[in-house]
Symmetry: C2
């Protein structure tokens, strides 16, 4: 993945002013045998302009999908930064939540990518539904180059290294029938629904505390009863979070935060 | 407040495509003695174009700061809609959380307004801090006409009627010393901090469950130790939500969701 920040340099710098780079993410392919890496993109710009790093400065780095560590600035000039990295032995714990999301409007998805990576999601499945407009799937926000850059941005903000795996499924039924059980066999499957009588807390009490959760969030108009039945027949349980109807992005961030809180307890 | 949707009609319509109008908010001043109201702004557009309402159709309405109810379409044409409203006797429960937020970048605040209203916040205090840029306070996002329109948008999305009260405080010290205790005397005061050892759950166990919570969220660079000491000396308690560093808007939505969850339990 050379696409850690593959947007044109200027755009990249503009975006980097937007988000905090609390961790410099490095791809394993970028390093030589002695864990040295030359950065010449938005990360180098950030190290010079925002962190104002000089020779010898220690920076927080993280290996994509791997451990956190420290990068020491061994050389720095207008165009590039050379870091010598030392990594911890163990990667940070993996996210314990996955997300099954009815494909939202591209504008919403655009601002959701970085937030999902920052909150920590293992796998993101974007699925079709009756109330999803077909053209949503033609958007550039579903191009790997686009979303990987946004996801890495979220990792760099939140200081984590686990890049979510993204699956795009343009057909609801085959995904639910053929893939859902396979991918998420051991997960507690929770579906946020205004009719859900159970609260999130009800699923995290006693001895049977789940280790992984798959959260389903429907389209803005809701799942149809066919879709709902299908999901329930594949192990999903309804839960409610009060009477408020939230925008997809607000709902995802809120629900993922609540689940993370219970999983950490 | 004639400014429920006081942006030019076109902009308003564009924005309304963005968000769902699950409740039509009506200001008390807009109604006559028999609870009839003539709508001729973005709400009328939405009722005609999105809800495709005809004569006699019943719509969900809510009185700003008051009860929910039903509005029956008594007349409708290209420019306006006449509704006859019947309201429930009791308003929905008030939000039990207030937010003390170090003023974020205007672009972040812009997208936060509607989400805060949708999640339910009683009072929003935007305060200065060492790591807040002074020019943030000169932004149009702090003009009441701007933020009230966004807040109402959030209420209409989430089906609630409690418009958050907004206070802007350009000086940190006088606010904390002179106003904080006065406004939030009986609230549990929680400050999200990476060093917080307690978890949110710790404050919601046993008999002393709080009825109101004031949540403090710092600037992107964090509170200074002076600011932190000042807040702690006025009753704030630290809590942590794991090692991830979240963007201000993600943090606010996530923390408010977690607190709402505990307060509902």
């Amino acid at each position: 993945m050379n696409g850690i920040c593959s947007t044109p340099a200027q755009v990249c710098h503009e975006r980097m002013k937007e988000t905090q780079l609390n961790l410099i993410i490095i791809h394993p392919d970028e390093m030589d045998a002695e864990n040295r890496v030359v950065l010449a993109d938005g990360r180098a710009w950030h190290i010079r302009k925002v962190l104002k790093a000089e020779l010898g400065k220690q920076l927080r780095v993280g290996l994509l999908m791997g451990p956190l560590g420290t990068g020491i600035v061994e050389s720095i000039d207008k165009n590039s930064v050379l870091l010598k990295c030392v990594f911890e032995t163990e990667p940070p714990p993996q996210p314990a939540v996955d997300l099954l999301l009815a494909m939202p409007r591209p504008k919403v998805m655009k601002r959701l990518w970085a937030q999902l990576a920052a909150l920590g999601v293992g796998r993101i499945v974007l699925v079709n539904a009756e109330k999803v407009e077909k053209y949503y799937f033609d958007s550039h926000v579903l191009e790997p180059e686009f979303f990987n850059a946004r996801l890495v941005e979220g990792l760099q903000q939140a200081r984590c290294t686990h890049l979510p795996e993204v699956l795009v499924r343009r057909r609801f039924k085959p995904f639910v029938e053929d893939e859902l059980d396979l991918f998420f066999r051991d997960s507690l499957k929770l579906l946020a629904d205004p009719n859900g009588r159970k609260k999130p807390a009800d699923f995290f009490q006693g001895l049977d505390k789940p280790e992984r959760v798959l959260l389903a969030v429907g389209p803005e108009g809701g799942w149809t009863s066919y879709e709902l039945d299908k999901l329930l027949s594949h192990g999903f349980e309804l839960f409610g979070m009060g009477p408020r109807i939230l925008r997809t992005d607000t709902a995802c961030v809120g629900l993922l935060s609540v689940l993370a809180e219970y999983l950490r307890m």
